[in-house]
């Protein structure tokens, strides 16, 4: 192996670094019109009338659409959303009308000229209010504002309670957070003369998208082609179809012109999905030594006005409650409620940041009760390779114990834990937390597979056509590496095509940390078949024993001796006798199962583990928390590309730190108070601490070269580790995020750690 594990720069790096890459917002096609959406300025209201007459008078306007002008097909995970809203708006972002015009400013002006008359309806802003008897019904016919509940249990929680020497209980409150993709949401819709639709779209799931979009806009899926341009970040935000996408199609259809919609940054903050805010009530117990006995969780999720895939995050969260460490008895009950807040969607970690925050905070509380070091308590409960959890998750490889030990070692855990700096105004402490996440996709559809085609042309150039999608995470590079490795060619001999549903074979999409694993295995199958074909051909041609041949450096080799050049062999195959192409294809289906109605079953073929140890400094007089270092150890199965892996880890850690310390989309009465980078506080360089990383290689037997997924992992356990470190430094437990200085100072004062400066 030469390429696997190496530090290989991302193939898309130079284009992005030099500004050569053309994103969708850079893309213009002849005749293209600009679409702009008129959104609701009310959070909950009946639409009395919409008058577009003034908008039609704006010069350059080609079409103005309202709900009356289109067939408004319900869509989304709860089938409760429509492209345009006709009778009622349920949150601040709601789409009331759309304009297509020659210029963006003409379209925007026309939007402003649309007169909307509303009759306000009583709004609901909290889950508690939404679930009260007699609360205003946000969707007619969905009684109780309760579109979804999730119930899961294994073992017998009552027994677990009975077996417990210590029980802790508490409530955790998690905030709205938004993705902040550098590229804003966008789409370009164009019909050809035969009525076929090409969507240049940022979707993470192009094939499912085709199917769902076809139903929304009344077409047949085969008439829709999806082209994915370079995507400026997704992090889960592009898992759903959002109203602006079918709106673009309707505008293109109405105007017979290509129509592009690109969100402004303001629109992106207000109108793209968020991470679920939620309240988590958790009870955890352990025996006298610290062995876990049970977990009992109740969660309330704010769904917002409509249901996206975000409503299914409990599916992932319950795995953490049931299976992060050995838990003999577990119960999980979740309510997902409608409110008139912005609606939430899918976001890297998919509920797991919230779940892990609660679970890992309580592990520290239990350790304190038992009187053992939190590391020891975690080691005591850590699973091993080969274990099956109460929920039926099978850990064919499990590096959790190594992760715990490594993170502790990198952070200087034992020494720092023994003597936190507890004097003076600045206190220091260390805390840790681990995580469990799917590491090879999640079988939520009948198939969780991916197709690949490998071809080698007459100049020896290898092309991998993969069903998978690169949203910036670097899958293109890693897949090219795998294929190059198998075929014994240099990286620059491999081209990856992954952006056109007319060309690429089927794939579920990019989510659930699945691409390196599923698309990787798929590419490997096809590459290995191509290799076999080449070796067979060479063996036949040169009358050599196939078993002695190999591929290396662009040659067919027999030991150290060159038998033939790859390109020459392919040409020979093309031009001799019956002629043959070197094209192979594969479909890889992971060995996972769809869970049953009780959510039991091995939903992923492998699982990712990780532990972060975080050192913080807390200023007692201001409440300011500074993170001094993050030591992250992750079970990645096998390192495929050391450089892009580090990139993933660092990006994830920073995202997790933002969640811990500063990031919150502030919503007041359904309205976003901070819809700009000025007021939404992403971390900046000075706040980012040194990040130490160690990859734990458990070499998963089913992973490509032993690898498992790590895309979501590094963001997941940061917040719990930060809160645990703050507790170590100050003795105060924080259960609400983000840990802004005002929250921390108030907490320190309430706990009597510092005196109110003026009392």
């Amino acid at each position: 192996m030469t390429l696997i594990g190496a530090r290989i720069p991302k193939l898309d790096g130079p284009g992005k670094a030099t500004g050569e890459t053309r994103y969708l917002s850079d893309l213009e096609v002849p005749g293209m019109l600009h679409g702009v959406i008129r959104r609701s300025d009310r959070v909950h209201a009946r639409i009395v009338s919409v008058d577009v007459s003034k908008a039609l008078e704006v010069s350059g306007v080609h079409a103005v659409l309202t709900a009356r002008d289109i067939v408004n097909v319900p869509f989304g995970h709860g089938k409760d959303n429509t492209p345009l809203k006709g009778d009622r708006v349920r949150c601040i972002r709601d789409e009331i009308a759309a304009v297509a015009a020659e210029t963006e400013s003409a379209a925007a002006e026309a939007c402003r000229a649309i007169r909307v008359e509303y009759e306000d309806l009583p709004p609901v802003f909290t889950v508690e209010d939404a679930l009260k008897p007699g609360a205003p019904e946000i969707h007619a016919g969905r009684a109780g504002n309760l579109p979804f509940t999730y119930d899961y249990a294994h073992g017998d929680v009552a027994q677990g309670e009975a077996d417990s020497a210590h029980v802790v209980e508490g409530e955790f409150v998690l905030q709205f957070m938004t993705h902040c993709c550098m590229g804003t949401s966008a789409i370009l819709a164009a019909f050809d003369s035969e009525g076929r639709l090409t969507l240049t779209s940022l979707t993470q799931v192009p094939f499912l998208y085709r199917r769902d979009m076809a139903a929304i806009v009344g077409m047949s899926p085969e008439d829709i082609r999806v082209i994915q341009p370079p995507i400026g970040g997704a992090f889960g935000s592009k898992l759903d179809i959002y109203p602006f996408e079918p709106i673009a199609v309707h505008l293109a259809r109405a105007t017979r012109r290509p129509v592009r919609i690109v969100f402004s940054r303001h629109e992106e903050f207000v109108s793209s999905p968020t991470r679920q805010p939620m309240r988590v009530r958790l009870r955890s117990g352990c025996d006298g030594k610290g062995r876990l006995t049970f977990r009992d969780a109740q969660l309330w999720l704010d769904n917002g006005g409509y249901t996206s895939w975000g409503a299914t995050t409990p599916f992932v969260m319950m795995q953490t409650f049931s299976s992060l460490y050995r838990v003999p008895h577990a119960r999980f009950h979740t309510k997902v409620a409608y409110t008139n807040n912005p609606y939430s969607g899918s976001f890297r970690g998919y509920g797991n940041l919230q779940a892990t925050f609660a679970v890992e905070s309580q592990l520290d509380l239990l350790a304190e009760k038992v009187g053992v070091d939190p590391l020891e308590l975690r080691l005591m409960n850590s699973q091993e390779t080969g274990e099956k959890t109460g929920q039926g998750l099978e850990f064919v490889s499990c590096g959790l114990r190594d992760c715990l030990e490594s993170a502790a070692e990198m952070s200087g855990w034992r020494a720092k834990r023994a003597s936190p700096a507890l004097k003076g105004n600045v206190r220091r402490g260390v805390g840790m937390a681990s995580m469990l996440h799917v590491g090879g996709g999640a079988k939520i559809y009948r198939s969780d597979g991916c197709g690949s085609v490998v071809s080698i042309d007459d100049f020896g150039k290898v092309t991998l056509v993969t069903g998978s999608t690169d949203i910036g995470q670097g899958s293109e590079t890693v897949l090219a590496q795998m294929v190059a490795e198998v075929l014994g060619v240099a990286m620059d001999r491999v081209k990856v095509i992954n952006s056109d549903t007319d060309v690429k074979p089927w794939d579920v999409g990019v989510h659930a940390s699945r691409t390196s694993y599923v698309a990787g295995n798929s590419a490997l199958l096809a590459a290995n078949e191509a290799k076999a074909k080449l070796l067979t051909a060479a063996a036949d041609l040169y009358e050599l024993p196939k078993g002695e041949l190999s591929l290396s450096g662009g040659f067919i080799m027999r030991g150290a001796e060159k038998v033939d050049a790859l390109d020459k062999l392919v040409r020979t195959l093309h031009f001799t006798g019956k002629g043959e192409l070197l094209v192979t294809h594969s479909y890889f289906e992971p060995a996972s199962v769809k869970q049953d109605a009780g959510f039991f079953g091995n939903v992923s073929p492998t699982y990712a583990f990780g532990t972060h140890a975080v050192e913080v400094e807390v200023e007692l007089d201001t409440g300011q928390v500074r993170v001094l270092a993050v030591s992250a150890a992750h079970d990645v199965g096998k390192v495929l590309n050391a450089m892009s892996l580090e990139g993933q880890i660092e990006g994830g850690v920073v995202m997790g730190l933002g969640y811990s310390l500063t990031e919150e989309l502030k919503i007041r009465e359904g309205k976003v108070l901070n819809p700009s980078f000025r007021d939404y506080h992403l971390l900046t360089a000075p706040e980012v601490p040194p990040i130490h990383f160690k990859a734990i290689e458990t070499e998963d037997p089913s992973g490509p070269f032993g690898a498992k997924g790590v895309g979501e992992a590094p963001a997941i356990c940061v917040a719990a580790a930060v809160a645990n470190a703050v507790h170590h430094a100050t003795g105060v437990r924080f259960t609400e995020l983000p840990l802004t200085p005002e929250r921390v100072l108030n907490g320190l004062i309430a706990a009597g750690v510092v005196r109110d400066p003026l009392a």
């Binding site: 959104r39 300025d41 402004s264 303001h266 207000v270 819809p675 007021d679 971390l683 000075p686 400066p757």
Partner: protein, 330 residues
């Protein structure tokens, strides 16, 4: 993308030309220095002037020099230059510290001292896009009749957010203003009003042309402290400047403290005369913190808990005294 409303740009060569242009387009004109405050505000449609009068082309507005017992600073001196200028470093340590803590590098490069002193007040309900403000309902400061911070309020309490103002207030600065009738000098302390709609004593056809800071006395020291969410860029959640002059025995000849980013006007803390003649011990500094705290009443005009911002006044006062630097001889 947020776009600028259309306008005509004028590039006068002298202050009197600038004043004439302002007078000519009265009601529909704004001065433009670095544009780091005005242009974002125009994109949010907080101002839609048909004319902008640029100051970049006016000569002689970017001096930094000490003469006749005062350090003279031109309004077009960039924040970046203020942050690294050796004379400012030697003579006006708190001003330098304030400049270094303003915004981020690009904004410091473009932003000017004059623009900073004339910065529009800020509020979470005001510094938003036109559509956002429409959705909530306009407020007193712009197009509306209510205040979203103080529901029954009749007075705008948007926050003065310029970091050089508190430093210059404690340094006893005066400013020079040119208008159609000539020039006038004002103490900076008299330049600001407690009215968030417009907190400046400046007519629409006037230009701030110079800032004059008395040369530091022997034993004069000054310091500046600021709270912000992120060190790389943010506006202040609270800023505090202090200065004092100690006699040979270490007793204070005078003490000045200013607190800003809480209310509409940078607040020069009063009732500090009792400290004259005494040593600035930690107990004395704590007392100053308490006095300052009593005089400030922040509201939720920015997204950060006002009670916390208020509680931190004594902390920043203490730190500002601890990090004070002695003005060195030039």
């Amino acid at each position: 993308m947020l776009t600028l409303p259309p306008f005509t740009y004028h590039a006068p060569a002298t202050v009197s030309e600038a004043v004439a242009l302002l007078a000519e387009h009265r009601g529909d004109v704004k001065l433009l220095a670095g544009g780091t405050d005005l242009l974002p505000n125009m994109k949010h449609r907080l101002f839609t002037p048909a004319h902008l009068v640029g100051l970049r082309s006016v000569r002689g507005l970017a001096e930094i020099a000490e003469k006749d017992g005062a350090v003279r600073l031109g309004p077009m001196v960039s924040i970046a230059r203020l942050a690294r200028d050796p004379l400012v470093e030697q003579r006006l340590p708190s001003l330098q510290a304030a400049a270094q803590a303003i915004a981020g590098p690009q904004l410091r490069q473009m932003g000017t001292l004059g623009g900073n002193l004339c910065l529009d007040t800020r509020c979470v309900f005001y510094n938003q896009t036109a559509f956002w403000r429409l959705a909530l309902g306009y407020c007193l400061k712009k197009d509306g009749t209510v205040c979203h911070v103080v529901k029954a309020g009749k007075r705008c309490v948007a926050a003065a957010s310029n970091d050089t103002a508190p430093a210059l207030l404690t340094l006893g600065a005066r400013i020079r203003v040119a208008g159609p009738l000539g020039t006038r000098d004002v103490a900076l302390a008299d330049f600001y009003f407690a009215d968030g709609v417009r907190n400046l004593g400046l007519q629409e056809d006037e230009v701030l042309t110079g800032i004059e800071v008395p040369s530091p006395e022997a034993g004069q020291r000054s310091g500046f402290q600021k709270l912000r969410v992120r060190e790389a860029v943010d506006y202040p959640s609270l800023s505090v400047a202090v200065s004092s002059a100690l006699d040979a025995g270490g007793n204070a000849r005078w003490v000045r403290v200013a607190v800003s980013a809480l209310g509409a006007r940078p607040h020069l803390v009063g009732s500090l005369e009792s400290l004259t003649g005494s040593k600035l011990t930690s107990a004395a500094v704590a007392e100053i913190g308490r006095i300052a705290h009593r005089q400030c009443h922040p509201l939720t005009n920015i997204n950060i808990d006002p009670a916390w911002r208020r509680d931190l006044i004594p902390v920043l006062v203490k730190r500002a005294f601890e990090t004070c630097r002695l003005a060195r001889a030039s």
